[in-house]
Symmetry: C2
Subunit: 407 residues, 2 copies
Amino acid sequence: MYSLLLSLAAILIATKLLGELSRRLGQPSVIGELLAGIILGTSVLGIVDPHDPTTHAIGQLGLFVLLFQIGLHTDVRSLRRVGSSAIAVAFAGVLLPLLGGFAVARLLGAGNLAALIAGAALTATSMAISARVLADKGVQHTREGQVVLGAALADDVIGLILLSVIVAVVADERVGFGVVARISALSIGFIVLALAIGSYAVPPLFRAIDGIRAKGSLGMFGMAFGLLLAAIALQSGTSLIIGAFVAGVILHPTPQRQEIERTTVQIGHFFVPIFFAVIGASINVVALFSNQALGMGAALIVVGVLGKIAAGFAAWNFRGNKLLVGVAMVPRGEVGLIFAQMGLATGAISPELFGAIMLVVVVTTFVTPPLLNLVIARDESLDREHSQGPEVLAPDGRRVTTIGRRH
Amino acid sequence: MYSLLLSLAAILIATKLLGELSRRLGQPSVIGELLAGIILGTSVLGIVDPHDPTTHAIGQLGLFVLLFQIGLHTDVRSLRRVGSSAIAVAFAGVLLPLLGGFAVARLLGAGNLAALIAGAALTATSMAISARVLADKGVQHTREGQVVLGAALADDVIGLILLSVIVAVVADERVGFGVVARISALSIGFIVLALAIGSYAVPPLFRAIDGIRAKGSLGMFGMAFGLLLAAIALQSGTSLIIGAFVAGVILHPTPQRQEIERTTVQIGHFFVPIFFAVIGASINVVALFSNQALGMGAALIVVGVLGKIAAGFAAWNFRGNKLLVGVAMVPRGEVGLIFAQMGLATGAISPELFGAIMLVVVVTTFVTPPLLNLVIARDESLDREHSQGPEVLAPDGRRVTTIGRRH
């Protein structure tokens, strides 16, 4: 218990300090939180042991809270408006980095499985980071912003399905079209079924729960619903993150969402940095700065950035700024980190490849804001706004439903 | 991970539902939370395994948050006003139940160590439950109320020191005056030292931290400070609860306390019920309803209730309602449960004796409100008030500093 208390205290202090530092440097706080983990981890101070089962489990609860929060922010129904463009961007944005990453990693000497994980880690845009960057630039509610967030949502889902498939492959089951098809079908089936049942059953359920006026109850019932769906998803062969995310999406349209979100954000202040710090703590600093990691990282960054920018042009029938869409899809984050962590924990990838994927996450996040500035400055037709929130959006009647809207 | 997610979901749902039920029945929610744990635990549904290391660790974090919260509510300096009465009541209220409980348990066949734990489990009044019952009756801010909360604070500290001593005894170190003296000195030394250093160093530290305006940071720094002190306390040979409690006490007078408390309460909605549910899950229902547990429980209840009521009269120079003070000291809670859990986990007490201690906690909590009603109804001189909060209390100038005030 002593080492747990100490490592939690150290994680909270270091992630908040370095998170604040990266925020002041104009970067998302996740960068600082990863750095905090690296410093506290086994290769530097040795205070946080990412392999301790309890620390790992609390980190996974952080992952749960993070995906549940992202789900709570996600309005799936408004995906319809930008649906076909977003899905075209999402598919191209998954395929190009996946194939490119696989090819580059193979060329640089990685095995088939390791190269597959490297490619897969490049597939998912970080919805959290993209949304934050778009909001910072005031273009979150433009049509471009909606396509980006819709595509990020779709590629998250594709990425999570890919993850479920690769986990099964790593677990050394019989690899083949059968396994891949079964797990993809399971994940899609879970999402469709949970959304269908949830949309009918959950609103009346939470209306009833709302009657319980004990302090903090509503938020905790929301959390419990998320935990339950995450458990069911895990047990039915898909993953915790899909369950957590879908639970949030189901609760999004309920009137109780705001209170659930308030609670989740508070709980998240505790749990989420622990998730990123545990990932940081898994990083071997020596491997991170090895020539192999730097070389592989650089190659993956090129493929990852170009793949997503090219994917923006896959929205052939979208009549907005395709370059802006592509650039905004560049940041990788949570899902890439999850792939990397899974790969390292199972021994499927080397510490050097793990370090290379970390570099991709850090660099893609760093380069996006200045790149986006360039693109936006060149486009005067853009309908920018610096204001946020439903009150501001309601009057014109067009922007009431937005994807990934944050309150 | 599946079973952890499932058991957390089940714990949140069951504790909130049954906590609300007991609240509606006029009982503290801890009763419902224990009951939820019993239902989910190994002896009924088997969803929550209290021996799973991660579940146990998260429960201990709940204990940490609970004691940190109690500390945040505690104004030690105002103890001076009612100091001598409170300390007399506290010492009598520790000694009488300790000796009575030991004697009764020995007479009914328990061994020396088990009887010692049974007696020790009766020593500490539940500050949380007493404060709640007094507030419900509107007598929290009377002199009687202040003596009760001062004495409950003091007997908590004595109880926690006792616990540290007994843990050392159970760990099969050399038992003797030396060990007892060393651990008592350690605990008292820790408290005095932490308060002395903390009172000087912490306010400027948190003034500096207050400058970091990132959302949720301040509360997390408060939590981190508590975790750090709990870790130091544990490592220096006293206990997690003393460290958590003292950290709260140190933060109490800072202007940052309110925000830290807001965060802690939110985090507590998640963690604290898990602590009680884990305790409930350790209860063997068969043993709970055995003749031995019921007989032992009844005897301990009699000793426990009479011991505390008698202790009220130990405040020889207190010119208020001594019977009210004694009755309000009756509820046992957290600390008794911690003794029982420690005893069961180490095999020092039988499941029957564990069940008997559970009965003491439940029954003493149940009987206090009606008993207090009787005493209050007979005393017309009592200066009751139904209002709470510092705004209401400030104008008359006398009641601004109160012990255990809750905001």
